[in-house]
Symmetry: D2
Subunit: 382 residues, 4 copies
């Protein structure tokens, strides 16, 4: 019996723009999502990139039927229903807005844009498209970590009581070596910012996602520890932050701290989040992504303590699609879960989440941190 995607008369055609780290991760998601989730079916149509040879090779490896170098041509095709934007941040706005106008559903990597201005235009375009049934979503993939999705569910169900204090940090160490070379990521004009845009965007999104409350004011500090690095053309000034700190007040009355760094020697990919409520708390570390620690102040007195929940049970978010209890998921599963959520929303006609408005709101928090840092940390109201 011959089968295959052909048996589904209308699979959704997908195009991914960008083929490096994020392009590889998103390709993995599109290749696998239908094997795990009962969503609308997709077909991997085309991978788009600037270098014809490289994008062709990437396309062949990552399961795409074709490669292309001109994203505008791809937008004109009728067999493409979804455009997934994995380019550097400064290209997000242009491609995304064009794709939405062409009637394509759009998934765009985080951060939504390099500036608040661009993010506003994108949110406006998304709003218009939504009215025509065209969907958009920003790829804060860590919302799709089962442990963090569980944390949000427990918070929403009231198991922590009133959320009061949040600690979010994202620590890496790839710049700790002062002899590491200059790269475009350390130039403000190219990268927008340093740890702030790259790492604090995830942390700020989680603060708002988990608490369900918006940031209302911010006091921030940024620092560049190594001020000059050597590139191919000799020594050059580093013009972005190496680390950033902020204290955030939320509409609910909660207070959050945020700390991000590329200088935290020994920490490889440590997004850590703690949420303290009136009757419980949770703690998470991306370096142990299948675990959520939970403290229940209402538990039997003598046996109270932080429980390490192995978030691999079929009753946990996303897990019924995967393996039996006790079988760990990897970082890449978050992209598969994300693709599934996006496809389910498209299938049901509901707006997917997080929206471009959510992405814009994170952008505003990051801008406020920079602005506060520029005025000796004096608080900035959003």
């Amino acid at each position: 019996m011959t089968i295959g995607p052909g048996t589904d008369p209308h699979p959704l055609g997908v195009a991914v723009v960008g083929y490096s780290f994020m392009g590889k991760a998103h390709s993995d998601a599109w290749r696998n999502v239908n094997s795990f989730f009962p969503t609308p079916r997709v077909t991997q149509k085309v991978l788009v990139g600037r270098d014809a040879a490289q994008v062709s090779s990437a396309a062949r490896h990552y399961g795409w039927s074709e490669s292309a170098t001109d994203w505008r041509q791809v937008l004109e095709r009728d067999d493409i229903h979804i455009v997934d934007v994995c380019t550097p941040g400064h290209l997000h706005a242009e491609i995304t807005i064009a794709a939405l106008e062409a009637g394509k559903h759009v998934l765009v990597e985080k951060p939504l844009a390099n500036t608040v201005e661009e993010a506003k235009h994108m949110a406006a375009a998304a709003q218009k498209a939504r009215e025509r049934g065209v969907h958009s979503m920003v790829a804060f993939n860590y919302r799709r970590i089962p442990a963090l999705a569980l944390a949000r569910k427990m918070i929403q169900e009231g198991r922590l009581g009133e959320v009061r204090q949040i600690r979010a940090s994202y620590l890496q160490d790839w710049l700790a070596d002062a002899d590491a070379p200059m790269t475009w990521r350390l130039r403000r004009e190219a990268a927008g910012s340093g740890a702030l845009g790259d790492l604090a965007s995830h942390a700020a999104d989680q603060i708002q996602f988990l608490s369900g409350s918006a940031v209302t004011s911010v006091s921030g500090t940024v620092n560049t520890f190594v001020k000059t690095r050597t590139g191919p053309h000799g020594p050059e000034e580093v013009t972005v932050d190496d680390a950033a700190w902020a204290t955030l007040r939320l509409a609910s009355g909660a207070v959050a701290s945020l700390e991000v760094s590329r200088f935290a020697t020994g920490r490889k990919n440590a997004l850590e989040i703690e949420v303290f409520g009136s009757v419980g708390s949770v703690a998470f570390n991306l370096e142990r992504l299948n675990e959520l620690r939970f403290f229940d102040a209402g538990a039997h007195g003598e046996s109270q303590g932080f429980s390490t929940i192995l978030v691999t049970d079929p009753t946990h978010p996303y897990l019924d699609a995967w393996w039996p209890a006790g079988h760990m998921l990897g970082w890449d599963s978050t992209f598969t879960n994300q693709a599934a959520d996006f496809l389910s929303a498209i299938g049901s006609g509901n707006a997917p989440s997080p929206s471009f408005e959510d992405g814009l709101s994170v952008q505003k928090v990051l801008a406020a941190i920079e602005s506060s840092a520029a005025q000796a940390s004096a608080a900035v109201v959003l």
Copy 2:
């Protein structure tokens, strides 16, 4: 530019026999291996199972071009080069031997067989096939966990010195509830054994794999905690072990302990291994599969301690194929790594490892544990 597997003139055609838990995991590996590893290319030809409707649905979801119900017909096809056997254990010998005789490379799930007798026939068939350039491998996928592959590498390089003491346990809890129903897995005639075949096979393989030394004698104990369970036809005797314990002497002079259980309340999938050598030691837990703990007795005195190595660096085994440092792999990645190793061996013409002889040797250890247990734990020499 149109691309795809078609650009490789001779991709290897794969058939998987079995479509439940292991069939799903192996399908995942074949679907993804070429996206990560530079091995010979494969194409997912056919998924084989007894129930036509179910196997057809599974094939569609897991990326197969076709499904089939008669594995003998599949063995006759010229476009099938690899047969991957994921059936229950009592069918391994028949399918595997026929496939080898048909000139197919064979990958077979662990344990190799339900009895030593069957395993011996399979090893003999593999030996004959090898002489004709036909390869075979038994799927002890935990050898492909990067942390355990690193442990073996470090042991082989002498970083632990002389290995003396090994502790291996594999603890689960899905039978801890005495009211859990009777299943075929708890009947000796169907399952062969209980925790012994299912869990101790992995533990025994790791003991020999990590130490590089063979088990020479065994003292064993088995126990059935809940002796009767209720099935669809009423109460029924449980005829397999719920848990097993053994002390193993190795040819090198090392001593290993082994403990497996389906009654370890709270432990979901806890394969734990500790290896103590004269100048160092390592410890691993499958519930934290990206970590290896390492103690170096030669380190600076005041700062000695167990290091928690995050085994996600491109310099670690298998990792250069995956993501940047700090990005966790899941349990499913072990099957992808395994497929890559099998394909690389086929491509290079070298015999893949672990061989059927390795699988047979594990089978003998399990049989010796049962035999010792039947004589009040008196040691049995292998």
Copy 3:
């Protein structure tokens, strides 16, 4: 206002025999017990040892009023009510029996004796003394770790359900270096045994203490990894075990595993105990002695996991005598707790626990392990 022990008309006079490691630890307990616990008051009368100069110096440092070299003379004094025996094991029986006959309450270090024969005589003497109101106790101080006392309480209250499987190990590494010198501890005639008497005694006592059930049969294995070591007189044969393994069946139907070693590189003082019951389990590690891990199979499904209980709350065993919640206790506190329990029993007239019968029962388990090991691990019934 002048105060002090003089205000209590009848403090109990204490003599400790032995002034090295255990003598120091027991002195610490007698010096501090009245500062924490509302027990009968004691006064540190005399420290006894063979070397007059050394015992005098030790007495001065550890808070004793006097030192002495002849324990027989001390037994004749009316102002000594308690004799605490901290000598090497081969002297336990003689001193203890004489002290009991002299009407002194006796606390004796574990293991109770070097042989089952001696232990039987001691238990008989304790029985006779008890009839005259003279008390005795064996110093299994780890029963006084709050976390393990809590574990026992929870097990007795049924929070684990039926106890089925126990894992006890005690791992150290001070002999891992093959060049470590010969000592009296490695000679059978002096030390009785190796890791077995020293480490397995604690583990075996905990198995019976926590489960509340007696060992009924034993399969054992022992091993000496380094068979010759060099002492002051040249190379010499090591005549005790370096490590030991056993599988123990209990009267309740539970099965326990036991593993002890002085070759576990990196493990300094790792007494680890896991108890798996039908509805819960606990886990403990002496290297984190203020923590007990607890899994409650009856907890809310999605948030089940091992809780790390910080056993420092005033509601936990022994803790109301110490510091506010969150303030860690040290290893030495177990001796203070032990002295308090002994004094409370004396004060109330109840027999203290663990009794010499308990000590004898541990001795029998150790002897059975050796006996089984001598017959190729064949099980020995107690």
Copy 4:
């Protein structure tokens, strides 16, 4: 042979003022210091408190020869050489200055005082006294945790390279319950501040102690989550902070974050400190006070990871005075170590550390945090 303190012709007489929590902890130190450390000998002369009956009972339990209610009379006695001030903070200045003027060596609990003004007077008095050979020290006892003393030693030896980023938090949860009653600790006039003085004082001291660098500017935020609590006289406003946050710049160029709270549900006594340097880092948690985690960026590439050092080896700070390797110390040991350091300094004639100047410097940091918080977190320069 009769012995005892009498054999030392000139033991130093000690008086402790205050007999509650800190009085109990300091008494424990004076009772035990000579049993462990080869310092000048002390004798526990007098415990001072306002309530005659209570202080008499405490004195009897804690090993003191006498009790007294008038600290001024105690200062006149020739047999008192050391005065140890454990009263509430607002009494520190008066007692301490009088004791120094009376020629007594003074140990005073942290924080040094409730205000910068008082602390300045105390530091001036200490300076004058020092010229006369009279010593003083502020009791930041966490400097005497072996793990933190080791961290400082490693930092001073350059094993972390240049210190860049420090994270210090001190989290407790005893106010998380909004129904917890009003106490004097929540009134500004009595307590000075909330979490700031109580918890941030330790954290700020550690930041300067570990880095060896002074804080130069501060941005701070404080918050009171529960603004009204009910006391014996009905509802009352809480006038101190429940939690505080700060970002601190150090003279060396390093940046530190600080977060303290009494609302961190589940955290009992969690002083956590991380120090990130250019070639290494350390991490500590008071809830596991015998452990220090260390990352060595210069270690063998494939086995890099955070080592968990069990800081119980005789080669570690303070440990040669205590027990063999692997035997845990408790929280109370930090006071014994502190008393030993103070006595050693007195014996050698060197100024003990931390000095009142060190205490004053912490006081200034706390004041700057409050001041910054009062101006919307704008940075305050010290």
